[in-house]
Symmetry: C2
Subunit: 236 residues, 2 copies
């Protein structure tokens, strides 16, 4: 088990109220692991034995229905925690986590959590913040799904991805990991067909440039305009 350099993670909000020396103690309880692209990190319904902090790569958290339909709960970017089932009192993971790119994560055993929060109460506080923020994002997503049309929802989704994991190019912003039409459909509550049609249309308007599991926002502002349009006035 390689020792983790504290400087890599010290600035994360998670460790907000933690002294550098203490940070080392926290990290000592973790190990790290590599996950190749498309490998599963944990499966929905499995025992929540660990929680994670992503160091490199990108992870997709997805939830599956009994009938096999799936939605993408979120994409995890480096510096974010995931698999926090235990902190919220769940014994099993409520979703499946897949590395969408070669990824590296720190891993703590779930059993270490009670001890850690007792010793470092600020961990509970910052985790509460994190989970609270996700709850708000969740509500925003519900609001969008309830009130907006598919095109607007896709626009919002792409803008969020760009903000979270966008790589700035001189001719736009590229989403920095492989993402398919299907994935976007599962983020917005629609079908890959509809997403494909929308992206095709946008491409012809010069708003995006896209290909196999790859999307570049050429005109982010134009997409913002689309996203905020209140359901009338389509293109002629």
């Amino acid at each position: 088990m390689a020792k983790v350099d504290t400087s890599l993670v010290a600035h994360l909000p998670l460790f907000g109220g933690v002294k550098p020396g203490d940070l080392e103690e926290i990290l000592r309880e973790a190990r790290s692991a590599r996950y190749p692209r498309n490998s599963a990190i944990f499966e929905q319904g499995a025992d929540a034995q660990s929680f994670f902090l992503l160091l490199h790569g990108h992870v997709r958290a997805a939830k599956t229905t009994p009938t096999g339909e799936q939605i993408v709960v979120r994409y995890v970017a480096p510096g974010e925690t995931f698999g926090l089932a235990m902190a919220i009192g769940a014994a099993r993971y409520p979703a499946t986590a897949i590395a969408v790119d070669d990824s590296v994560a720190l891993i703590w055993p779930t059993s270490a959590w009670p001890r850690l929060v007792e010793r470092f109460p600020s961990l509970a506080a910052s985790t509460l913040q994190t989970v609270g923020t996700r709850l708000q994002e969740s509500h925003t997503r519900i609001l969008e799904m309830s009130t907006q049309q598919v095109e607007q929802r896709v626009a919002h989704a792409l803008l969020r991805l760009a903000k979270q994991s966008g790589k700035k190019l001189d001719h736009g912003i590229e989403i920095d990991f492989p993402i398919s039409r299907q994935d976007i459909a599962q983020m917005t509550g629609t079908t890959l067909h509809t997403v494909s049609r929308i992206l095709s249309s946008w491409e012809s308007q010069g708003l995006v440039e896209s290909g196999r599991q790859r999307i570049i926002l050429r005109d982010p502002h134009g997409i913002v305009v689309l996203a905020e349009r209140s359901a009338d006035s389509g293109a002629a």
Copy 2:
């Protein structure tokens, strides 16, 4: 300010790790207030000056878009906390809270939160659990909105309301506060018209009995069956 009887609230999960004497200290920081039916407790966007524990009545938390459309985030039942913006690091309320029935709540000033969690770390832990549970419910709701038809979503919504706030009658379960077709529409991402049609149809099948802001589930099991039906086989 009337003193609050600790026995009323001691059993709540929120106060799980708190000693009875300490509980008294926590309650001393709170005041209580009455909210008449249909009055606002706080407005979306307002300064989050307080957080609340509902003692009696029912509260609807709703989120509004810039264009005036609304969704119901959740209904709060007695014993539940709401308005926790501060715990999750928000300076303003992300939703509006309305008493849907004459209600009574305990109120703490937001400013007391840091002190309370420092003194009683278990508060942070139990709040984390609460928020985590809500996050999961939120994800479930997104999953439903993405994969189910309106009728199933309405069925699920009513079953949840019945579980949370159902009053058992000999001829069914009544939802124990005034709730309109519009409210249900805003919980499920549809329109009051569609909800009305669905309830009419259910009524003719003997599944429910309903009227002005009033719903009784006459055949809860039948509704469960509806809720779980996988999008095929309608009635003949």
